[in-house]
């Protein structure tokens, strides 16, 4: 009954989405006021998909094996948290989560947007309904999560052990909030293009949505990076895997959008460009969803390779992105550009930021899809990996970081003060870092060296907007920007330090033997069996010393029974200046064990920086929402005075 309730809720939501879309068409052709009706429908539709998703959680929590999806992805012996999280650790469930976020975002749009023009909101709600309609159809026709099995099997097949990790509980939901949250920006842009009301009011209404989605995208990618780092046992934090790129591309587009929106909000300029970015950001989310779900690119994440589903998603992609781009091509000409600005101004700074981010986005996009196009044209197979991305996108990203220090110091419209003079201290710090790396570490690569230099410079430059004024009276949004830019410097320092100073050892050792890695001496004490609820393991005990007291690490190779799979559980010990990362592998016939060790100085800064960037976003979000509240109250007071 539970599964049927979920399915019925999904069908009802589909019907409401269709109604919502029809009402939008009626409203745009006539002058009938349907705003209130559409808002209510959007809210009910959101509630229905939420109900449907809750039903899916319930069948997973109860291990109801008569539901095909539960049978295929769950097992009664699994820990409870993975039973629940397993609901989205598969194709159908994760698509239902995707759709749930989409329609709940639509409901929030209906509830919260009061200040944009009513016609634009109506058009945006219609666009949101159209998006939802396609993905509901995808679920109901090609990926029904509630399909039953008769007779019900006694036991399930189990969840992929790589996913039996707390990471599964937070990574997909966070990333989806980001991916799909961008749909609201898409719909608002489509709505504004339909009604022709692209102005600073729209930008201010769109900004919290973009910020919110961007915060979750940042958290999702940062968290996902750490999850892959400790779970896969490869010791890397980013692999330029097509699916990682699929999450990086919307993030780059959303970052660019975030910056161009502030130009539109403050100065009414960059109208067409901002609308284009809003469309592209969510289009990148859909491209990402397509790449992951269709299995057209080989990737660690592609767990559903199915041409029928791929075709369906591709058709949706073609319809939505095609319609939005066509609308842009037809209506773009009517957009009048806003206030002019001089060459040296904050506007110019933000335009350069957007150009660089777009080029990096283009590079990642090209690198991800290039193998496919080469094979289509010439039949030759190739793969594009880290050397391409690092050497092409890396230098541009460094240029961008250099400019991040300057942009926020520039005034709107026209800058006449000598801005570069304010950068003396940061520039000196950067130069000191450069000289120190040359003296202390002459052998490191050029990119890591420049990375460390720019990180030192940017860490200082990013706080300049708070200098020379009372920091406590600076707007919260300014604090947000400072924290985010500072976080970028921290993350860059972590990436560069990891690239420059990581030491790695791979060896076969017998118990009692010692290996050295970086400043550490690591001794294999012994190897013992271990067991958990649904796995058995061999566990190595390693004793690591470097001057101070020893630490013990216990990496495992785990053997899961349902389904039978083997995973490496790395043992990681974190210190203030880095992480010791250890993996135990296979035995050899003569009593030795494969042991893999890494000493990764300051690697944690990558994720600390990522978290700071997200925190900066959160501060800016609060700042804008709070400012809006205050302005609204003031406006009412004046109105009734």
């Amino acid at each position: 009954m539970i599964a049927e309730t979920g399915l019925a809720a999904l069908w009802l939501a589909t019907a409401l989405a269709a109604l919502q879309f029809v009402l939008m068409v009626v409203a745009l052709r006539t002058e009938v006021a349907v705003g209130r009706a559409m808002r209510s429908i959007a809210v009910v539709q959101g509630a229905l998909t939420l109900l449907s998703f809750a039903m899916l959680l319930l069948v997973f929590a109860r291990s109801d094996m008569s539901v095909a999806l539960v049978f295929e992805n769950s097992h009664s012996a699994k820990p409870f948290i993975y039973k629940v999280a397993g609901a989205w650790g598969n194709h159908e469930g994760s698509m239902l989560l995707w759709v749930t976020v989409l329609s709940v975002a639509g409901a929030c749009l209906g509830l919260l947007s009061r200040r944009t023009s009513e016609r634009t909101v109506v058009a945006a709600l219609g666009s949101q309904a159209a998006l939802a309609l396609g993905f509901y159809a995808f679920l109901l026709i090609a990926s029904n999560p509630f399909a039953r099995l008769d007779p019900a099997p006694a036991e399930g097949r189990g969840l992929n052990p790589l996913l039996q990790d707390p990471g599964l509980a937070f990574h997909p939901p966070t990333l989806y909030l980001g991916y799909v949250g961008l749909s609201v920006a898409f719909s608002l842009a489509v709505g504004a293009l339909l009604t022709g009301q692209v102005d600073s009011r729209l930008a201010r209404a769109m900004r919290p949505w973009v910020l919110g989605a961007w915060i979750f995208l940042t958290l999702g990618s940062t968290g996902g990076s750490y999850w892959a780092y400790y779970e896969l046992g490869w010791g890397g934090w980013w692999f330029w895997d097509p699916v990682e790129n699929a999450s990086l591309m919307p993030w780059l587009a959303a970052t660019a959008l975030l910056h161009s929106i502030s130009v539109l909000a403050a100065r009414g300029a960059l109208k067409a460009w901002t609308m284009m970015l809003a469309v592209i950001a969510f289009s990148m989310s859909m491209v990402g969803t397509f790449l992951v779900r269709s299995g057209v690119l080989t990737s660690v994440h592609a767990f559903a390779i199915d041409p029928e589903r791929g075709t369906f998603l591709l058709a949706l992609l073609a319809i939505y992105v095609g319609a939005a781009f066509t609308l842009f091509a037809l209506r773009g000409a009517t957009l009048k550009e806003g206030a002019p600005f001089e060459l040296i101004s904050r506007e110019t700074g933000l335009v350069i930021n957007n150009l660089l981010l777009s080029v990096v986005l283009g590079i990642v996009f090209l690198g991800t899809l290039y193998p496919l196009f080469v094979e289509a044209v010439s039949g030759e197979k190739l793969s594009v990996g880290a050397p391409y991305f690092n050497s092409v996108a890396g230098p541009l990203a460094l240029v961008l970081t250099g400019l991040v220090g300057i942009g926020p110091l520039l005034a709107w419209r026209r800058e006449q003060r000598p801005v570069l003079k304010r950068l003396t201290v940061p520039a000196l710090l950067g130069a000191t870092a450069l000289v120190m790396t040359i003296i202390l570490a002459p052998g490191i690569g050029i990119l890591p060296r420049l990375g460390l230099t720019l990180a030192a410079y940017l860490a200082a430059a990013s706080i300049l907007p708070l200098i020379g004024r009372n920091p406590l009276r600076a707007p919260l949004a300014t604090w947000g920007m400072v924290v985010a830019h500072f976080g970028l410097a921290i993350a860059l320092a972590g990436m560069a330090a990891n690239a420059a100073f990581t030491s790695e050892r791979l060896a076969v050792v017998k118990p009692g033997e010692t290996l050295s890695v970086g400043p550490w001496l690591v001794q294999l004490q012994g190897v013992t069996p271990a067991a958990g609820k649904n796995w058995t393991a061999i566990e190595g005990e390693l004793r690591a010393t470097r001057g101070e007291g020893p630490v013990t690490l216990k990496p495992q190779t785990r053997y899961f029974s349902d389904p039978p799979t083997e995973t490496n559980e790395a043992a990681i010990d974190t210190f203030w200046n880095g992480q010791l990362y250890t993996v135990i592998g296979k035995p050899d016939p003569w009593g030795g064990w494969q042991v893999r060790l890494w000493w990764k100085p300051f690697v944690t800064l990558i994720w600390v920086g990522g978290a700071l960037v997200a925190l900066g976003g959160a501060l800016a979000f609060l700042g804008h929402v709070w400012l809006r509240r205050r302005r609204e109250r003031q406006w009412r007071r004046e109105l009734y005075a």
Binding site: V287, P307, F325, F328, A329, A333, L369, K586, D588
Partner: protein, 174 residues
Amino acid sequence: MSRAVRFAPLVLLVLLLAGLVWRLATPEDTTIHSKLEGRPVPAFALPAALPTKPGLGSADLTGQPRLVNIFASWCVPCITEVRVLQQLKNRGVVVDGIAVRDRREDVANFLAQNGDPYERIGSDSQSRVQIALGSSGVPESFIVDGNGVIRDQHIGPIEATDVPMILSKLEQAR
């Protein structure tokens, strides 16, 4: 904004969709084909890995089709593979070995424990020949025809289920 600029995103989208449709219509062939298939074996001459057996050079690869197996005593999958090679030998296949980065006593030990299907074994102590053959790991095997031309590259251990396939490929190489 000119018309061309406004329509550019749409044109790019159509190109992207065309590429993706093509990929969906022709699913990827994930079999790796060696670049050296159909080419003569690169010239090499390896010293004997054991005192009791001759070494292996490209000049030896003539007469009848042979299976050249790249292995090592330190390679765990090679232990199971060497038994399958023994089956192949029992069915009349000539198996030659290239021992990669190995010591004489280790190879002797390995063969004494697990059986010895090899006619000749060359010792490739620096992996030079392995790299020249385009092999990236152990074990790997090459089917070389009577004229010294590489006909097939098998990556990973040859398992019992692969025996009929290997036999038919050797037959084709005749």
